[in-house]
């Protein structure tokens, strides 16, 4: 497999302008002759479908929820970064670029990140114009807050519901195009496979989740914006339906999967309370602006937090990282929390928790200021735990949150399958080995509003695409495979439920491919996952039929794919003999327990190529160059 990243030449500051100029254009009158499939209606897919529809393309957009507005982007809380420098505190496009490359621990592509930082400013303008009710200062100007990994205040927010408001903006733009007739929306429809004709992506096969109908859709290009795969861990902050099916099945059809083991563990989530637990809830990182993280100085201290005097508390982030303090990047904060819990200093029933304490801020700013900033988060915490964070510190613990890995894409966001583009969390492009807070929303919207409208046009204008419709034999062949798979899952009628497999897989992944990883554990996990997968295909019980709304069947397909992806993640983690960002290999750490990169041997993106069922995948490498930000050990001290 050849990886051509199509990075433009010349200075990074002009690269995007220059490549936009070099790209071929589709004549306005011809746009409606091209049909485009967009799978996903989150920030990435929604913004792409709306923008492409507006340009005049014939767009079909798909989501598995009952409305595009429910895509998982809706749940993002904290905010979105942009290099506006409205605070006059020294921000710039270059600084956002620098912070993102450094935050990603030098495993992202510089040119992509620079473009992202450039587009960030347009995103805010676009969203304001759509009516996104960003927080404002009394003078009427846009307000900002700080996020981890940055020393400037560049995060824009809409209370604790930034993702919701940005997504509603994109959703409304999308519905405007539905109204205009340029986008046809397919809700409750799940993509189950990709159709390739003459080497190019030309369509998808879907299942109507209400009627069970398997259907074919042909197009001139396919865009996947199907989100992240954090649910491979079962417990994560992702929505229950978030899954890897679209990207995994595209991977099996030839799309390289890059850096699958790069997952983000978010430091501030509500700890697990019991074995019925179905998901984990994030408490936004923005809380670290005003909350202080601590554990008791001594292990086994069971006193109530209010009974522990100041001098018997360890504010370990402030102690270890005096210059960033509670605002160190997520990977650093998560590992530090794990370390204190491993020392037996964790708090709460399970000992897997640390305090996030607002007492000082409430004293300093008053309760109402804290309520104004975080009221809805405090309420959510109270609803879930029954405890009041205004009077007692929150208990938090790290949880799986985001996947930096994803399908490999070039600078134009095209995968290794010509004609198939990948946007948003589903691709691997911009965050390297660790994503900074408030930059996933930025990436999704940059990809959808400001990149794909150009690069898709370039693809369509520079390729001769023969007429294709769903009567092509390739559609029939893929449809048969999909039907067979569904029938097979329904026919096993074994003894174990789908979710019991999912939980077991999640535990294997969390124990071996989570916050700390080592060679022995990873090798062992690979064997365990293979065994579990084998058992799944012989003993799973998927009730009901394929002819109607069957949530167990939907979930079975997703879990089957996770059972394959999990193995690839472990393989990737095992091959990467270094620690970087969220990938912490216990064998590779400094004396102080910080991640130790190996730039000489691992300064590349690992793009895995599918080689067949139960065959070892092939590793391809895209070397990464750092001409602008020079790799150094990240220091937040």
């Amino acid at each position: 497999m050849k990886l051509d990243s199509r990075i433009p030449s010349g200075p990074i500051e002009q690269a995007w302008d220059k490549s936009r100029f070099d790209m071929k254009l589709v004549n306005p009158a011809n746009k409606r002759k091209f049909s485009v499939i967009v799978v996903g209606s989150g920030l990435a897919g929604g913004s792409a479908a709306a923008s492409l529809g507006e340009l005049g393309y014939n767009v079909k957009c798909f989501c598995f929820q009952d409305s595009p507005r429910r895509a998982h982007s809706i749940a993002a809380q904290g905010g979105i970064n942009a290099a506006k420098n409205y605070q006059n505190d020294g921000d710039s496009i270059y600084r956002l670029f620098y912070d993102t490359v450094k935050g990603g621990d030098f495993r992202a592509r510089e040119y992509n990140v620079y473009r992202l930082a450039q587009n960030s400013v347009n995103i805010i303008d676009q969203c304001v114009a759509q009516g996104v009710p960003f927080a404002r200062e009394y003078g009427g100007a846009l307000a900002n807050r700080s996020f981890g990994g940055a020393q400037v205040s560049r995060t824009f927010y809409a209370r604790g519901q930034t993702g919701q408001q940005l997504l509603l903006g994109a959703y409304q733009a999308l519905e405007a195009q539905v109204d205009a007739g340029s986008v046809k929306m397919y809700t409750r429809t799940e993509m189950l496979d990709l159709v390739i004709i003459n080497g190019k992506a030309r369509g998808i096969v879907t299942r109507n989740l209400v009627t069970g109908q398997i259907e074919s859709h042909a197009a001139d290009a396919v865009i996947l914006a199907t989100g992240g795969y954090g649910n491979v861990f079962y417990l994560s902050t992702n929505a229950k339906g978030s899954n890897c099916t679209a990207i995994w099945r595209a991977h099996k059809r030839g799309a390289a999967f890059a850096n699958p083991c790069f997952t983000q563990i978010h430091p501030t989530c509500i700890p697990v309370s019991g074995d019925y637990q179905s998901k984990l809830t994030l408490m936004s990182e923005s809380l670290r602006n005003d909350g202080r993280i601590w554990v008791p100085l001594k292990g086994g201290d069971k006193r109530a937090p209010s009974q522990i005097p100041e001098n018997e508390r360890d504010y370990y982030l402030e102690r270890r990282y005096p210059s960033f303090g509670n605002l160190v990047p997520r990977d650093v904060a998560s590992r530090a929390a794990k370390a204190v819990c491993d020392e037996g200093r964790g708090v709460g029933e399970t000992g897997l928790g640390v305090y996030l304490d607002f007492a000082d801020s409430i004293n300093r700013l008053g309760r109402s200021a804290i309520e104004e900033r975080y009221g809805n988060l405090f309420e959510m915490y109270n609803r879930i735990t029954g405890e009041d964070p205004y009077t007692a510190p929150m208990r938090i613990y790290p949880a799986i949150h985001y996947t930096m890995g994803g399908l490999w894409v070039d600078y134009q966001l095209m995968s290794t399958i010509p004609g198939m583009f990948v946007l948003g969390e589903a691709n691997f492009s911009d965050h390297g080995a660790n994503r900074l807070g408030a930059s996933a929303l930025m990436q999704g919207l940059s990809d959808g509003y400001f990149v794909i409208p150009y690069t898709l046009g370039n693809y369509l204008a520079s390729n001769k695409l023969e007429k294709v419709d769903t009567s092509a034999p390739e559609f029939a062949a893929v449809t048969k495979e999909v039907n067979d798979l569904v029938a097979q899952m329904l026919s096993i009628k074994g003894k174990r439920t789908v979710s019991s497999y999912h939980r077991e897989l999640g535990k294997i992944m969390w124990d071996n491919c989570g916050m700390g990883r080592n060679a022995a554990g990873l090798s062992n996990a690979i064997t365990q996952i293979q065994g579990l997968r084998h058992e799944f295909w012989n003993n799973v019980n998927v009730p009901g039929s394929g002819e109607d709304l069957n949530q167990q069947l939907e979930n079975a397909g997703r879990v089957a794919d996770f059972l394959e992806l999990g193995e690839l993640m472990c393989r990737d983690a095992l091959h990467r003999n270094e620690s970087c960002g969220g990938h912490f290999r216990e064998e590779y750490q400094t004396e102080e327990g910080e991640a130790m990169r190996d730039d000489e041997n691992f300064q590349y993106a690992a793009a895995w190529e599918y080689a067949g069922q139960d065959t070892e995948p092939i590793l391809n490498k895209e070397p990464l160059a750092f001409d602008y930000v020079h790799p150094a050990q990240r220091s937040y001290k």
Partner: protein, 261 residues
């Protein structure tokens, strides 16, 4: 301290598909921990049903954080259950008592046909938004974000309105099955901001017209919607919608008289 546990009896609406008749069925939910969410309690019941060779109960959910608007059904006649300002996915079992009997039914409204068990079709809400619940702004054509200042009060009102999650509880709670709170929230959100002014009249006219096309009932200001709304969208949003609509109806009639469109 170990969390307390309880035994509950559930009566759940079971309906195979939109065309099939439905009926209530009884299930036991033993050893429910007070720390579970309502949906986690149903997960456990479903795992048992599957193991017993029965069909699990279909209900909608996704984020389980009270923000996506997927979840929602009636618990003892109350939309999203007894806790004020809380979606069913965020409702925790500590609000129930040992031995309680709970009746779970889907939203009931002509505009929301039942698809299966507790799952209904809410596509009408998307069509209401498509009828004008947006600001038309071409991608890439926006002025600088700070070019137009927005008073903090206006931004706050807009945000209060924009917090609607589109769950449909307001419709389910309304004796007329009206969707005035949902529609009023969007009209108020965009109508409060300077960016929403150009299309304000057209938006109000079209969205209100769509409401009746979708067979939602008429609002008679009963206020049950507000009591059921998990995001506590205030009743004043309906008043704002009515004002915008009335004003738009007047001006558009004027336009018709002068022959303009």
């Amino acid at each position: 301290m170990k969390p307390a546990s309880m035994n509950l009896t559930l009566h759940v609406w079971r309906q195979a598909n939109a065309a099939a008749p439905g009926r209530m069925e009884r299930y036991d939910a033993p050893n429910v921990s007070e720390d579970m969410s309502f949906l986690e309690m149903l997960d456990v019941v479903n795992e048992q049903l599957i193991s017993d060779g029965k069909e699990p109960i279909a209900f909608e959910h996704d984020c389980r954080e009270g923000i996506c608007g997927s979840c929602g059904f009636m618990v003892n006649g109350v939309a999203h259950g007894p806790q004020k300002g809380t979606t069913i996915c965020q409702l925790h079992m500590r609000h129930f008592k040992d031995g309680e009997e709970l009746f779970l039914e889907p939203w009931r409204a002509t505009a929301f046909p039942v698809l299966k068990d507790l799952v209904v079709d809410r596509a009408a809400f998307d069509r209401i938004i498509a009828a004008g619940g947006y600001v038309s702004v071409r991608t890439g054509s926006a002025p600088d974000g700070n070019a137009i200042s927005v008073p903090k009060e206006a931004a706050d009102i807009a945000m209060d309105a924009a917090a609607c999650i589109g769950c449909g509880a307001c419709v389910a709670a309304c004796p007329n099955a009206a969707a005035a709170l949902f529609t009023g929230a969007k009209i108020s959100h965009l109508g409060t901001l300077p960016q929403g002014q150009a299309e304000r009249s057209r938006r109000a006219l079209r969205m209100v017209e769509q409401l009746s096309l979708e067979q939602f009932g008429s609002c008679t200001n009963i206020g049950e919607c507000v009591a059921a709304c998990p995001k506590q969208i205030p009743l004043e949003m309906i008043a704002r919608m009515n004002r915008d609509h009335l004003k738009a109806a007047w001006t558009s009639r004027g336009e018709h008289r002068s022959g303009g469109e």
